[in-house]
């Protein structure tokens, strides 16, 4: 019992510490390719510390939902990521770690953020909420198909994360099968959509009419904005951890926990570089081209499903 609590605590602290680092890596990559020096890789940490020290300005139109939403978003992202242990040595608590729980916790966080966007009574908030709910609704079928394929491919129909991890660890020969590669790229597109990266949404834009996620949180300031940003970094890490531990089943047979943490970090870095490359080489799509993007992600996951079950 104490061991489980310690594992959970270590997992949460580790995630909190490394989550903003990968956003910094993407930003540094973009600057370097554009021949700029760019901010340091640790800039997101400095931003968070600065935000915690700032005063809050709260709109008079808003209600308790506006004040509660950042904390609910942060806590649901944190609980969701605690369901995905970063290394195998940290698994052990299996009573609520379930892939469908992760999806529905993210839905909860998203609902609260969308309501907070509408709460301030500004146009940009409504626009951001509408677009955010649309984008997440369009990629949901692809996400569910990836989850169903991953949980059903072992022949045991279980969405429990421990069972899925065990299958991935015992079957490292599936790392480069077509099913895995198709699901990996489908998940990459879902990651881009859910963490608001180009081509779905530009995270560094200043034009409100082009924003999706930023427009929802336009009114937030101070520590509330810090919690939202931390929640966004953790949400990105959830999808990356899913991809690293389930869809890249290599390098698991290591006993030392620090070595396996290192391998995990290298895998996440590889995924981050992929996301950065996609960000550099595309532009932000029109809002009504996002259904095409989501459809391609869906087709990839359908092909992954078919190659797992039908084309054996």
């Amino acid at each position: 019992m104490i061991g489980l609590i310690l594992k959970l605590f270590f997992q949460l602290v580790f995630i909190l510490i490394i989550a903003p680092l990968f956003t910094g890596v993407i930003r540094k990559m973009k600057s370097k390719v554009q021949h700029k020096i760019g901010a340091s890789v640790f800039q997101p940490y400095y931003d968070l510390i600065k935000l915690f020290k700032k005063d809050l300005v709260v709109s008079t139109t808003s209600s308790w939902i506006y004040n509660l939403a950042p904390y609910i978003f942060f806590i649901t992202s944190l609980v969701a990521v605690s369901c995905l242990p970063v290394v195998y040595q940290l698994t052990g608590f299996k009573f609520y770690t379930d892939l469908l729980i992760i999806v529905y916790l993210l839905v909860t966080g998203r609902i609260f953020m969308a309501l907070a966007g509408l709460d301030t009574g500004s146009t940009f908030g409504g626009m951001g909420s509408s677009r955010e709910m649309l984008v997440s609704a369009l990629v949901e079928p692809a996400l569910f198909l990836v989850i169903i394929t991953v949980s059903a491919r072992s022949g045991v129909a279980s969405t429990n994360v421990s069972t899925i991890y065990e299958y991935a660890i015992n079957h490292t020969e599936t790392a480069f099968t077509p099913m895995n590669i198709l699901l990996f790229f489908s998940m990459l597109m879902i990651l881009i959509a859910e963490s608001s990266r180009i081509p779905v949404d530009d995270p560094s834009t200043h034009l409100e009419l082009t924003m999706v996620h930023e427009a929802m949180v336009l009114e937030y300031s101070g520590r509330q904005l810090a919690f939202i940003e931390l929640g966004t970094h953790i949400k990105q890490l959830i999808f990356m951890t899913f991809m690293a531990n389930i869809l890249m089943p290599i390098g698991f047979n290591v006993q030392n926990i620090f070595l396996s943490l290192g391998i995990y970090l290298i895998k996440i870095l590889v995924i981050t570089i992929l996301v950065g490359l996609v960000e550099l080489n595309t532009v932000k799509f029109r809002l009504y081209s996002i259904p095409n993007f989501a459809a391609i992600a869906f087709i990839l996951s359908v092909l992954g499903f078919l190659s797992c079950f039908i084309l054996k």
Binding site: V57, S63, L115, T123, S129, S130, E140, A157, E219, I310
Partner: protein, 688 residues
């Protein structure tokens, strides 16, 4: 409590409903007293019956409760049988009617002295009574009698505000669709009785129905019960009827009356028809999936009226329940008992959960209409500050339907997805690839529907309750009265309780499924020391919402402590929302309900065919408009392209044939008599 005491208790509750109906009718001169009498009797009787049904399902689960009153009417014996499935559905009826009766105390006060509240109270009690007796009846003719009672009384309740033209039109559509469905159900029952030689459910010889007749019976039942359940394409009456009905009737109709079609299908298909080919389940699954997608897209894209949004959302949830039913039939056709139990649990659990949160949502639409005198979301806004307590309960309803943990919608969505995953794992090694493809499409469709439900209820709650009031009606809103608040609170706390402790609900449904299909879902005996972990029958599904809630609460506590520690160094300043420095903030710059869902209308424009029309009355050219009218309209695709051509063809045909048959001359009428007489004489002389 032996069976006899239970039956006497049941009959006493029926008599209390009748007392409520009659006493409300006799006190028609004082509407306040008649409202109170009818609602108190309904409340007391529903409360007593729900406690009795819970007692029956947990403690009397193996004891049959049947009673019979003999009459001399041929084919009709008043034969009632409350087995576990019937007890479950009576439980749903009585919980919802308990809460809605409490709600109606203050809700009907808007109608005092303007309409006949005492007749409403009488019909209300008779409506609930007919539904309970429908579920308890053991005879097909009795089932039909109570089905017709229920439909007729609900028609009168729906057209309560009958002097408005739109209400009359809605009533016409409703009654035509309902009676068409009833005709199909009657045809199916007559066929069943012809082959099994009996109308009583416990004396039927169920194995003598030949298979092509069984197929026809199933299609008739699907059409008949599907009309009442509101699956696509038989759903066209629902937006009309639910928009014009008073909100308490809409709550009962949506929460309970549609579930009776599920009861009818379960009872007839599983108790009467012996086995089923695979295509029954596949057809039900496809119909359910199409209803789910269609319902939620229409709910999102074409509604500004709160009750119409909730009506289409009911279509979506009934689609999900029909998906569960389809998976049950597929499992039964392949003799897989684990899948059958799982699908059965999913169907019944979603039935119960939907009844609770949909009645909560319709009551909240009623509370909004009562306080703000408007049903349109475009005129609301900022209600969260004016009715703080009610808005918390309504928020819980919106969260429950969007399947947010820890509310009850999440549990039923979870079990439905587990059913789909288990079906895929079962059918893939057997080589039934078309079924695996079908399940994949169903899973993707249900995932899309689930995400769009969240979108839809963010729109409902966000536009109506948050932001600034968009009209003077919304500015003058006050908190609704105490009975309404208590009713909303009871439903909301039921949503929360059923979500955090799903084990008790699943245990209850297990008692139903033990009797119905001889299988159980929960494998271990759960006790208080083991409340955190309860594996399902194949030891592969464990989820503990209680433990999840505990982890969330602990993390919330830690975050709160951190925030309290650091908040002393910063100050909080209240200021206006950022308006870009251009205009003063007014409610018109906020997003409207139409604008919020515009993206869905554009993406799914094949289903909506949106049409924009700008008529310039003053001004010249497209860039200098002084006054104009802008109209945005969507179409109801199924009504326009499926029903309207059919109706026009019938009307044209009858208009042409009318003058050829009813010529107005007495000679042709005499010729009709004479020729029929000759034909009958010839028939009997050759056939006898």
């Amino acid at each position: 409590m032996t069976a006899n005491y239970f039956i006497i208790y049941f009959i006493i509750c029926i008599i209390i409903y009748l007392i409520g109906a009659l006493s409300s009718l006799f006190t028609f001169s004082v509407p306040k007293i008649s409202n109170r009498l009818s609602n108190t009797c309904a409340l007391v009787s529903s409360g007593l019956l729900s406690i009795a049904m819970i007692y029956k399902l947990f403690f009397l689960k193996d004891i049959p409760l049947a009673f019979k009153l003999n009459t001399n009417i041929p084919f009709l014996s008043l034969n009632f049988n409350i087995d576990n499935l019937a007890a479950f559905f009576i439980l749903i009826i009585t919980i919802v009617s308990f809460v809605v009766s409490l709600f109606s105390y203050t809700y009907m006060s808007r109608y005092f002295y303007r309409r006949n509240v005492s007749v409403f109270g009488c019909f209300y009690n008779l409506f609930i009574l007919s539904m309970i007796l429908l579920v308890a009846s053991n005879n097909l003719i009795l089932f039909l009698v109570f089905w017709e009672f229920m439909s007729l009384i609900s028609y009168f309740l729906v057209i309560f505000e009958h002097e408005k033209k739109e209400v009359q039109r809605a009533g016409n559509v409703y009654v035509i669709m309902t009676y068409t469905g009833t005709a199909f159900i009657t045809a199916a029952f007559v066929l069943i009785a012809y082959w099994t030689k009996s109308f009583d459910l416990n004396t039927m010889s169920t194995s003598s129905i030949p298979s092509n007749y069984a197929n026809m019976i199933y299609v008739f039942l699907l059409i008949g019960f599907g009309t009442k359940a509101g699956i696509v394409p038989l759903h066209v009456w629902m937006p009309y009827a639910y928009t014009v009905a008073p909100s308490n009737i809409a709550a009962i109709m949506s929460g309970v009356m549609k579930k009776l079609s599920i009861y009818g299908l379960l009872r007839i298909v599983f108790d009467v028809l012996p086995g089923n080919p695979m295509w029954w389940g596949v057809l039900t699954l496809i119909v359910g999936t199409i209803s789910a997608i269609f319902g939620i897209i229409y709910s999102l894209g074409s509604t500004v009226n709160i009750k119409k949004l909730l009506a289409y959302s009911s279509i979506e949830n009934m689609g999900i329940i029909f998906c569960g039913l389809g998976m049950m039939l597929i499992a039964r056709a392949t003799d897989n008992s684990f899948l059958l139990t799982l699908a059965f649990t999913a169907t019944l659990l979603h039935t119960l959960n939907h009844a609770i949160f949909k009645s909560l949502l319709f009551m909240s639409a009623g509370a909004i209409q009562y306080s703000a005198h408007t049903k349109s979301m475009e005129k609301l806004g900022g209600l969260i500050k004016k009715m703080p307590i009610a808005s918390v309960f309504i928020f819980i309803g919106c969260l429950a339907i969007s399947a947010v943990p820890p509310f009850n919608g999440f549990i039923s969505e979870y079990i439905i997805f587990q059913t789909i995953i288990n079906s895929i794992v079962w059918f893939a090694p057997l080589g039934r690839f078309s079924l695996v493809l079908l399940f994949m499409i169903v899973a993707a469709a249900l995932a899309l529907a689930g995400a769009l439900v969240a979108f839809c209820f963010v729109k409902l709650y966000g536009i109506s309750f948050l932001g600034m009031p968009r009209s003077s009606d919304a500015e003058n809103v006050k908190e609704p009265g105490k009975p309404m608040l208590v009713a909303l609170g009871i439903s909301a706390s039921l949503c929360l309780a059923l979500g955090i402790f799903p084990k008790y609900t699943i245990g209850l449904i297990d008692n139903v499924s033990m009797e119905f299909i001889n299988q159980k879902l929960l494998s271990t005996n759960w006790s208080l020391t083991n409340f955190m972990h309860y594996p399902l029958a194949n030891n592969n599904l464990n989820i503990s919402v209680s433990l999840l809630s505990i982890v969330v609460l602990i993390l919330a506590g830690i975050v709160t402590l951190i925030v309290i520690a650091i908040r002393k160094r910063t100050s909080v300043q209240r200021y206006n929302t950022w308006d870009c420095g251009f205009t003063k903030l007014n409610p018109k710059i906020q997003y409207s309900a139409t604008g919020f869902s515009k993206s869905i209308r554009i993406i799914f424009r094949g289903l909506f065919k949106p049409n924009r029309d700008l008529v310039i009355t003053e001004g010249y050219g497209p860039y200098h408009i002084k006054k104009g009218t802008y109209t945005l309209s969507t179409e109801k695709v199924i009504e326009k392209y499926l029903y309207l051509p059919f109706i026009k063809a019938i009307i044209n045909f009858s208009r042409k044939m009318r003058f050829k048959i009813q010529t107005g001359s007495i000679h042709t009428y005499l010729l009709y008599f004479f020729s029929i007489l000759i034909l009958m004489l010839l028939y009997y002389s050759f056939m006898a």
